[in-house]
């Protein structure tokens, strides 16, 4: 085995699993491997969250012709690490007359939902923790749980601004969930499967799905990105935590690590929405034009991350370009424009597939 083969993630995990099986009885070894995978995902989760925060600050600075964080570490790379340390050491404050149990539970709802969604993504051919046969549907199911955390946080903090933020969040998520689901459904119509690994396999020969389904696919992608931005409560849909109106919205009363959980979850949700888009429209870990398909040692996860970062950049671009919507504009956009458009698009996709017009 040469050195290059050693850097493939597959071989590393295979070596580790062989080693664990060699020192332990079989059942104990399988549990140990589950724990190791969970810890690896947690680490990935934390690092991705922290560096997406840094990326957001750098992109924001770039859009506003500033330099951005540049003091801690080279090019400010350690800035968010320092921020995280600061947040860990901060006091956890709370107001009086809150519902303690729900107040403490709320951040975990948000973060656990985000972490569960991460488990089903195929980062590369071998790098997938849980290849469930209803993959996409599982993602929709999990993302509908996450909003409960925000609603609980807003209600249990006993603060009127937080409550208004939570109410806005509820109606926004319930409305836009529909568009996310329908645009995903449009693409599922094209692939004929819900399993994420099979959706990617379907794009190996026929090209990425955004090309295979041409017009309806592009419309579905645009709707998905708009609705996805709304699902993650980011600007221009950040009515939930609109600083100029509500203080900090639903997490006004949270401090220290509990606040950091909400903050991290927002960035992880952005990562999740971009990952769904990459899998459904841009071929997941498949390389463009198959340029690295025959290079056995090439870690395909790089392609996945490049595509995801591209889409995350797009979402940040939205944030620093568009002004915030009002509540009535938000609901008009969803119910009067996106939803009818989405239903028509679904019919169009069905016709395209029925008449075999796919590329």
């Amino acid at each position: 085995m040469n050195f290059l083969q050693m850097i493939i993630p597959l071989n590393i995990t295979k070596t580790i699993s062989d080693w664990i099986y060699s020192i332990m009885p079989e059942t104990a070894a399988s549990y140990t491997i589950m724990v190791v995978i969970a810890v690896a995902y947690l680490a990935l989760f934390a690092v991705a969250g922290l560096y997406l925060v840094l990326l957001e600050r750098k992109v924001a600075a770039w859009f506003q012709l500033r330099i951005g964080p540049n003091r801690v570490g080279p090019w400010g790379l350690l800035q968010t690490m320092a921020d995280a340390l600061k947040l860990v050491s901060k006091e956890l404050t709370s107001t009086t007359k809150i519902d303690k149990f729900l107040y403490n539970l709320a951040p975990y709802f948000v973060i656990v939902a985000a972490l569960m969604a991460m488990a089903v993504f195929p980062f590369s051919k071998q790098f997938q923790a849980f290849d469930i046969n209803i993959g996409v549907f599982f993602l929709i199911a999990i993302s509908s749980i996450g909003v409960i955390g925000i609603l609980l946080a807003g209600w249990s903090s006993n603060n009127k601004f937080a409550l208004i933020g939570a109410m806005r969040s509820g109606l926004q998520t319930i409305s836009y969930e529909l568009s996310v689901g329908l645009s995903i459904l449009t693409m599922v119509l094209l692939t004929g499967t819900l399993q994420l690994s099979e959706i990617i396999e379907a794009q190996r020969t026929g090209g990425w799905l955004i090309l295979q389904g041409h017009i309806p696919s592009v419309i579905a992608f645009m709707i998905f990105m708009i609705a996805g931005t709304a699902e993650t409560n980011r600007a221009p849909f950040d009515l939930v935590e609109a600083e100029s109106e509500l203080g900090a919205g639903f997490h006004t009363e949270y401090s220290g690590m509990k606040f950091a959980y909400f903050f991290l979850a927002e960035f992880i949700n952005m990562f999740i929405i971009s990952s769904i888009a990459v899998v459904l429209f841009f071929g997941g870990w498949l390389s463009p034009f198959g340029i690295t398909e025959n290079i056995a040692w090439f870690p395909e996860v790089i392609w996945f991350l490049i595509k995801v970062l591209g889409l995350i950049f797009l979402m940040m671009w939205f944030r620093w370009t568009f002004p915030r919507l009002r509540v009535d504009q938000l609901l008009t956009l969803e119910w009067k424009y996106l939803l009818p458009l989405n239903l028509m698009n679904l019919m169009l996709m069905a016709i395209v597939i029925w008449l075999n017009w796919t590329i």
Binding site: L102, F137, F138, I142, S144, I145, I148, W155, G192
Partner: protein
């Protein structure tokens, strides 16, 4: 392994179900109910019925519970508590639930559970469910499917009429 997970899930379900009906804070009761529903979804995952589990999470977890929370958010303040139930009501409720439990236990204990052949077993595909749902041959579910869709349309129109109220009649 499966047995252990089953008992853990069952304990979670029973514990939170009891907590849900005994809690005097309404939103806590709703959250305990959510844990019960998630536990049931866990049971579906355990028997390898992923589709139903995801439906359980989406419809009950994401839909109905969010609706409950929304209603509570609108009408209830965080400091309010529900009134204490009088002893008479408690007794009636206990008797009724004991009767319900008895009927369920009797039904389960008298039903013979035949052991199926596990060698030919494969987990159910979503495509298969879809086909049966829309098939009009024997064992197809097209009629109930269509009846439910008509019912849902009626409910939606009804909701719009109720929500619009007077404005609808005055303008038209």
């Amino acid at each position: 392994m499966e047995t252990i997970i089953f008992y853990i899930l069952a304990a979670i379900i029973i514990l939170f179900a009891v907590a849900s009906v005994t809690s005097r804070k309404i939103l806590r009761a709703v959250i305990y109910l959510l844990f019960v529903l998630i536990g049931i979804a866990g049971l579906y995952f355990l028997v390898d019925y992923n589709y139903l589990a995801a439906i359980q999470l989406t419809v009950y977890g994401g839909g109905i519970i969010v609706l409950f929370i929304f209603a509570v958010l609108l009408i209830h303040h965080v400091e309010l508590e529900l009134e204490k139930t009088p002893l008479k009501k408690k007794l009636i409720a206990a008797l009724l639930s004991a009767a319900g439990l008895g009927v369920t236990l009797w039904a389960i204990s008298t039903y013979p559970f035949p052991v199926t052949d596990t060698s030919t077993y494969s987990s159910i595909e979503v495509a298969e469910i879809g086909r049966i749902l829309l098939s009009y041959e024997d064992g197809g579910f097209i009629l109930p499917f269509e009846v439910i869709s008509v019912l849902l349309v009626a409910v939606m129109i009804g909701a719009i009429v109720v929500a619009k109220g007077k404005k609808l009649t005055e303008n038209n």
